[in-house]
Amino acid sequence: MQKITKEQLTEKAVSLLRDGTVTHVLGWSAGEFDYDITPAVFSDEASLRKSFVWNDFCGANFSKYLVSKTRGIEGKLLVFLKPCDTYSFNQLLTEHRFDREKVYAIGIPCEGMADIDKVKAICGDGISSVNCDGEKLLVQSIYEDAPISVSPSDVLAERCVNCKSKKHVAYDELMGEDGDVLDSARFDEVSRIEAMSPDERFLFWQNELSRCIRCNACRDACPACTCEVCVFNNPRSGVENKSPANNFEEQMFHIIRAFHVAGRCTDCGECSRVCPQNIPLHLLNRKFIKEMNECYGEYQAGETVGSKSPLTDYTLEDLEPGEVFDRGDINA
């Protein structure tokens, strides 16, 4: 279902390696079952041809890897960026987190990524391969003789269902066509929770956050979380811990995390994608984005390099903290 093929990307990477434009390629490496794809740095043609892959399960946002992978390399690093990744790319540049000169960025179109859990919900466990025939995903299970045909739209990852933009905001080169910023319904779920009573909201989040095992996957996958030392690892910060000792710490971890990335979060959705406990963490970040949009004017982190986030800015007429609660009533 992706418009651009693995072969096109491989050839592009090979030619850029050959002509010396880049010395390394940040790409996806094939796994055991087609869906378990691992980001990898390739530096030679043979390994590219052997392991490089591009399919409907290449969800990982590569921007964050640029922070570590551009260090200590001689030449340039080629990175393939989906539209949503480009926002993180710009945001990291805004924060001076990697050297732009070290990167050759190719924007690639994305038709949305599939969620293996959704595939399994339809096809059951025991999936040995997932292929695409151009239109449909063909899912082979060890329990079935023939592959099961699945419509990509039925298994689209949650964040892709509410894709905010098919437009690349940063690249050196674009493959395929650029898209547009979309009019997504990404805030609907936030609005739904806002409409609950405080008690319902509390129960909702208790139920969600109580599952947290503090594995830090959300933090470690988050492109906005590139701190040299994370406050949760710093004993002097007052919030350091390795496991959530109780409800309070579960809540606090996520409130602080959301606050730390507020104004810097590009809404890439990695946090929810990687959460082993399926906690919809992106909703906390989206709440901040929605709130800042409504209170301080539309702002998309990473849309441009060097922009000032709403929390590092102000106007004389900003609403008072007590007024954030009543806006809904006023608007209604």
Binding site: G31, V41, Y143, N216, A217, N233, N246, P276
Partner: protein, 339 residues
């Protein structure tokens, strides 16, 4: 061997729960199986396994060890341990049952971990045979038969019946308790199910994965293999694999100042974390590659070296499905084992 019809399963559960807390895998609202406390009518999940392993019952993620209280300039140590209630964990899969062998060797060896031991003493493990393994399963690699789970009691579930087999004294006692609700039976149906499962196991994508390249004594051979760089390249350093793993047993002991005293507690730690075993001089494993290598060397080399060849992986596949970047022990074994 005894059996009961699935229709009467809830009464059996009720009977068990009458004298001990009963936990079993239950489907949560978002479609995952979670070990939950049984209440009247709580249905057993059909899912293959839970996201979190049953390790949590015996080695919880955090537990208070003691408290200190200061009064003026004196200090008092308070034991905060509460008497563990008897409990039964039902529906533990063969792989997870095996994990307790591995944990026992760590926590029950001298010096015995009395916190863990107390829970082991009070807990009864009722296993449940697998019939529909996932592509991520590779328990057979470690000599585990998914169709013949160990535990205090082993269970097999067919279309209409549940079969029960006691393996230990504790198991006998449990079976005795539900004697009235179950009947003596032959093991024919179970045998049939086991054969069927065995055939499926052979078809699993990871069926060929073997441990030939690993085990005690392989440290020098494996430690400096260049493949570690590539394997650990994308590792984010999160603790997902360790925290869903049924055999990871590392913990940290920390003090929390409540303002009214200090709680000394322990909590899971992950060797993937940059602060793992941090000491006054700093960290002893400084790069993610070193930390990554530690985890797999521990499971595949160090642990077997110290434990009669027993690997500390049970092939449950949780890390395969949960790793944010899909790097896992199966890929490591394939890569280092020469695919």
């Amino acid at each position: 061997m005894r059996k009961c019809s699935l229709n009467s399963l809830q009464s059996v559960f009720g009977k068990i729960a009458s004298s001990a807390l009963l936990y079993l895998p239950v489907d949560s609202a978002d479609g995952r199986a979670v070990f939950s406390k049984w209440d009247d009518g709580t249905p057993l999940s059909n899912a293959l396994n839970t996201v979190r392993s049953p390790k949590d019952f015996f080695f919880p993620q955090t537990e208070d060890l003691m408290r200190f209280k200061t009064e003026g300039k004196s200090i008092e140590v308070i034991d905060v341990r509460e008497e563990t209630e008897d409990f039964v964990v039902f529906g533990v899969r063969a792989c997870d049952v095996k994990s307790f062998d591995i944990l026992d060797r760590v926590f029950l060896a001298e010096p015995r971990d009395s916190y863990y031991a107390s829970r082991r003493d009070h807990g009864v493990i009722v296993s449940l045979a697998c019939t529909r393994p996932s592509e991520t399963c590779f328990c057979s690699t470690f000599g585990i038969d998914a169709a013949s789970p160990a535990g205090d009691v082993s269970c097999w579930k067919t279309e209409s019946e549940m079969f029960w087999q006691a393996n230990t004294e504790k198991g006998e006692a449990l079976i005795k308790k539900i004697e009235e609700l179950t009947e003596e039976c032959s093991d024919e149906a179970v045998k049939e199910q086991q054969e069927k499962t065995a055939r499926i196991m052979k078809k699993l994508p990871l069926a060929g994965l073997n441990t030939d390249a690993f085990g005690g004594g392989k440290t020098e051979e494996l430690f400096d293999r260049p493949e570690w760089t590539e394997l650990s390249e994308a590792c984010l350093g999160c603790g997902t694999c360790t925290f869903v793993c049924p055999t990871c047993q590392c913990y940290d002991i920390k003090d929390f100042n409540t303002g009214n005293g200090v709680i000394r507690y322990r909590c899971w730690d992950s060797c993937m974390y940059s602060e793992f075993t941090k000491m006054a001089h700093g960290n002893n494993r400084l790069s993610q590659k070193e930390r990554f290598r530690q985890r797999f060397m521990h499971k595949l080399v160090y642990y077997p070296e110290n434990n009669d060849g027993l690997f500390s992986c049970v092939g449950c596949g949780r890390c395969l499905s949960k790793c944010p970047i899909s790097m896992n022990i199966a890929k490591v074994m394939k890569k280092l084992g020469g695919e």
